[in-house]
């Protein structure tokens, strides 16, 4: 199962999905969130299996099973 966390005003919104038909709707929502995060923010993959380092996600397909993808919203100058 793949998990994404979108940082937002609720803390974060979690979406779990895999490649099965059962989670097709969740996968669509996750993919839309990824497209949005890639445009205005930064999606980053953390807690990868085998202790691999975090990485910036360039493609939706790079989201790995067992890892956490955190979608960082846009950073604005304060």
């Amino acid at each position: 199962m793949k998990k994404i966390r979108i940082l937002d005003k609720t803390g974060d919104t979690e979406i779990d999905f895999d490649d099965s038909a059962v989670t097709a709707d969740a996968r669509k929502i996750a993919e839309a969130a990824f497209d949005k995060a890639k445009k205005s923010g930064t999606p980053i993959l953390t807690k990868r299996q085998g202790g691999q380092p975090d990485m910036v996600i360039r493609k939706f397909s790079e989201i790995e099973d067992g890892a956490e993808a955190i979608f960082i919203p846009a950073i604005v100058a304060g």
């Binding site: 940082l7 937002d8 930064t42 980053i44 953390t46 955190i70 846009a74 950073i75």
Partner: protein, 253 residues
């Protein structure tokens, strides 16, 4: 030897009170902490800051500017009969902080002030003096804050988590191999190894989410963070002085 003195004074405006404290360092650096409150019928706005200046420099150059900036804005909102002055001022907190920081920087560059101290300014609009209608002041979503805090702690390593639990800040090693300190504050909360402070914020998320975002960006895509940051302060200063001043500042605030 550090000597501390304090005084309260009215600045000629019956809505303004100033508390000034100075620390005289043995090498003649005067560091000034201030907290002043600007009042309006519904509450107040407070400015506090730490600023490094030379002995003999006149801090009123900055005080006068702040009085004009914030006091002037309150007058303007009152004259325009703005129904919710508190909300307007709250929305302007960051704008005030930026303007005051910029004035600090320009005074430093104009000479006569010391510019190798890590200055900071914080502006808080306060609503504690009378009951507010619910639409004026949004309560903090404690559930969201807890969720964000739990996520942040989960993403920290053991050392970072211990730092955060103890001090509400932690250090990260950026992709550039430099060490950054991320503090629990909305503005200018990231400090680089050279003392430069960075202000790159998330919008409409709990503070802990912002800290997590800053951590992950510094570790994985620092250019994206720095591209969208304001900077303040910098240059080297003896760390012993900083520690001594921070200890005194903590006791004042």
């Amino acid at each position: 030897m550090v000597r501390l003195s304090g005084l309260d004074q009215q600045m000629g405006d019956d809505r303004l009170s100033v508390a000034c404290y100075s620390v005289i360092e043995r090498d003649s650096i005067r560091i000034l902490w201030r907290s002043r409150r600007y009042n309006w019928p519904g509450g107040g706005i407070e400015v506090s800051g730490v600023w490094g200046i030379r002995t003999g420099s006149d801090p009123r150059m900055l005080f006068g500017y702040i009085q004009e900036l914030i006091g002037g804005q309150i007058h303007h909102l009152e004259r325009c009969n703005v129904p919710d002055i508190g909300a307007s001022l709250r929305a302007m907190e960051l704008t005030f902080e930026h303007a005051i920081n910029r004035r600090m920087e320009s005074l430093e560059h104009a000479g006569g002030y010391r510019d190798n101290f890590s200055d900071r300014v914080r502006v808080d609009a306060l609503f504690g003096w009378q009951a507010l209608a619910p639409q004026v002041h949004s309560p903090v979503d404690q559930k969201a804050v807890k969720k964000a805090r739990d996520l942040l702690r989960d993403q920290l390593n053991d050392e970072q988590r211990a730092q955060f639990d103890a001090t509400e800040q932690f250090q990260v090693i950026g992709k550039d191999r430099k060490t950054y300190t991320i503090k629990k504050a909305r503005s200018f909360n990231v400090t680089g190894p050279d003392g430069v402070r960075y202000c790159g914020q998330t919008v409409d998320t709990p503070l802990e989410d912002q800290m997590l975002a800053q951590k992950l960006l510094l570790e994985n895509d620092p250019e994206k963070f720095f591209k969208n940051c304001n900077r303040s302060g910098g240059a080297a200063i003896d760390s012993g002085i900083i520690n001594a001043l921070a200890a005194v500042a903590g006791s004042l605030f």
